[in-house]
């Protein structure tokens, strides 16, 4: 169908605007009609189908690349490469499919702002988690040696607060 590809020229003239339609032009656009890329009602950028297909092809190639990258073993670098390629793919989707390239900058700030907070969130939690590494390693060592860890739980004895017990069963203290 030809209409899917050719940039259909819209009305020959924009007549006296009806109430509510407004009469905005894109800055620098001195033509009163819309063209292949500008909505005549100032409502955003119209992508050409060629751009969309090119972006899609790039995304498919990057997907193939990311799968192939797993065939090469680079240790801990692998995940960063995978994330890097994913980031590039995400950028393409956001810029072109989601029109961020032609949006008002404020929307880009809003989006980046939330990404910054995600980075902060993950960063802080990972830092905190890293401080528990020694405990995890110790536990894993114990797992491997398969010795059950005897938990030493001091019994709570109401009458003698200064007498923590070191055995697993609390001594039978009667009374009060």
């Amino acid at each position: 169908m030809s209409s899917i590809t050719d940039p259909t020229p819209l009305h020959a003239t924009v007549t006296e605007p009806q109430t509510g339609y407004g009469h905005e032009h894109d800055p620098g656009d001195d033509s009163p009609v819309g063209d292949a890329h500008h909505s005549p009602y100032g409502m955003g950028h119209i992508s050409s189908w060629q751009t969309l297909v090119k972006v899609w092809v790039a995304l498919m190639l990057l997907t193939i690349l990311t799968v192939m990258a797993t065939w090469v073993n680079l240790g801990t670098l692998n995940i960063w490469i995978a994330m890097g390629i994913a980031f590039v793919k995400a950028t393409l989707v956001v810029l072109y499919f989601m029109h961020m390239r032609h949006n008002k900058p404020f929307l880009a700030y809003l989006f980046t702002f939330s990404l910054a907070f995600v980075a902060f969130f993950l960063g802080m939690v990972m830092l905190d988690s890293k401080s528990y590494q020694p405990d995890i390693e110790r536990r894993m060592l114990d797992d491997n040696q398969q010795t059950p860890i005897k938990q030493v739980i001091p019994a709570i004895v109401p009458s003698t607060p200064a007498a923590p017990t070191k055995t697993e069963t609390p001594p039978a203290k009667t009374g009060h």
Partner: protein, 243 residues
């Protein structure tokens, strides 16, 4: 062409373009406001998923052996096919937005149908994967009881090495599957919601609601669908490409 549809004098006593809500002055203002609202929602969705991604990051950092072991139970091929399906659906969705913007109703309907088809394709592959997990006893928590067949299939399948016995199973592999099902399950719910929204768009497109002056719903639901694709773009390498 738009003259007859341009204004609809109604019981209000004044006429204004159809689909212009009263608290907006112009269609453009309505569009810009809607776009801001949709992007605010998208910012929230990213933070919403970031909780699960954080759980993934912490568990993987602390117990990489669990992730390496459990990754053998996932099929990279299905994951890659799903990625391609969603990427194609993003193309058809963006193309649909373009069709709405230029007033091409027939092509918009075609693009919406293709996007919906891709959505169903994605869910079908998800179903196949989940069913396999269920049958192999690869679930979360106490449900993690891998069958012999599952372990055989995961560790000897495709390996030509003579010393390819399956490695010792680390403890708490069930944690990986908790993370896996939470991430893919939540994402799958988002895909289903997206499919529902697309059907609504389709209904409206058939009804002739959309025009170059009013295509906002197509644009915004398109944004939502791209977010769903974005999340999968990150999920795929994190879950399926661990080696």
């Amino acid at each position: 062409m738009s003259d007859t549809a341009a204004h609809s004098p109604d019981e209000h006593g004044h006429d204004h373009p159809p689909h212009l809500a009263h608290h907006f002055d112009t269609l453009k203002q309505q569009f810009e406001a809607g776009k801001l609202g949709m992007w605010a929602f998208i910012a929230q969705e990213i933070l919403f998923f970031s909780g699960l991604f954080c759980a993934y990051a912490v568990y993987r950092f602390n117990h990489p052996e669990i992730f390496v072991y459990a990754s053998h139970f996932l099929d990279t091929t299905w994951g890659a096919i799903n990625t391609c399906v969603l990427l194609f659906s993003s193309l058809t969705m963006a193309w649909g937005v373009r069709c709405a913007q230029i007033g091409d109703r027939k092509s918009l309907i075609l693009c919406l149908w293709l996007t919906i088809l891709c959505g169903f394709g994605f869910m079908a592959i998800k179903y196949v994967e989940y069913k396999g997990k269920w049958e192999h006893g690869l679930l979360w928590g106490q449900g993690y009881q891998p069958t012999e067949e599952a372990i055989e299939h995961a560790f000897s399948h495709g390996h030509g090495d003579s010393h390819a016995e399956h490695p010792v199973e680390p403890s708490n592999v069930r944690t990986f599957f908790a993370v896996y099902f939470c991430l893919t399950g939540l994402h799958g719910i988002h895909v289903l919601v997206g499919i529902g929204l697309l059907f609504w768009l389709l209904f409206r497109a058939y009804r002739g609601d959309f025009s170059p002056q009013y295509f906002a719903p197509v644009d915004f639901i398109g944004l939502y669908w791209h977010v769903v694709d974005l999340i999968w773009i990150f999920l795929f390498p994190l879950l399926y490409l661990i080696h």
